[in-house]
Amino acid sequence: MPLISQSFAAGVPVRFAVPGNIARVKTVSGGVANSITIDLYKNGKKCAVDLSQVDAGDFATVPDGFDELWVTSTILQNVAVQYAVGNVGSNNGTFILSGTAGVAEQGSLYGASFASNAALGTGNEQIFAPGVNVNGVAIWACFISSYPSAAAASTFMGLIAKSGVAPTTAIDGDVLMALQNNTPTLVGAVANTIALPRPIKIAAGKGLWFRNSATVEGGGYRSIQYTVL
């Protein structure tokens, strides 16, 4: 479950714009009973769920979901609050999963982002190594924009997932996106762009790279949002 974990000042509400249908107080550090209040909102309207004066382990489910939560602590302390979309429950810290949220259902909860506008030569730009991917990685969005360094040249950009070492050719691995950009002589360098058509999950053990298998770029722009599961 996604986790908010930080220090809260006494009596100062802190807003988090996160979607979900369950919110749970995981830990509190202050040792004062019932020191947490969580107010849940959807579309600016407060949900009819009472999570006031609660403690670690207390949680609430909101059938219609929420899109923001406000956390208030009565004392200065570190608080961890979990929230999630899906059928998720807990009892004394042990989570009972009664359903699995699909990749697309969690689309707004990306955990990491990488972006680069470095001109990529013939070779790779690593997004994450295989060692990072222990349980799979969900890619929510990605785009590549590229143009070659000279007219009558081309770039051949790809987004490639692969286990082991980095890809060595344009088709060395799972090619999730590919963009071949040929620039006519008379026009000069023109950028083309491609975007990932839908979220996709990469199997555990595979790393992810942007790869240019042709002429060095004159310029490029690449961005990706993903979550290490």
């Binding site: 930080q6 990488f114 972006a115 680069s116």
Partner: protein
């Protein structure tokens, strides 16, 4: 823009690497994603030596703050 590492209010980490000539790379990761990204040849291994040196102190402070929570 210079090389930088910053711990945001929500405990996410943002790292920006300035490659010069207007070219940059950036990483951001939610608090619960940081440990995974530091495994093996994690994102830090991708940084240039200068970027690594520039942000080492800031990143260490950010991660120390996380560990304390």
């Amino acid at each position: 823009m210079a090389n930088s590492a910053k711990l945001e209010n929500d405990n996410s980490l943002t790292v920006i690497e300035d490659l010069g000539g207007g070219q940059m790379r950036s990483w951001s990761m939610r608090a619960d994603q940081i440990a995974a990204h530091r495994k093996g040849a994690g994102f830090e291994a991708l940084l240039t030596a200068k970027a690594k040196s520039d942000i080492a102190a800031a990143e260490a402070a950010a991660l120390d703050a996380l560990d304390e929570q």
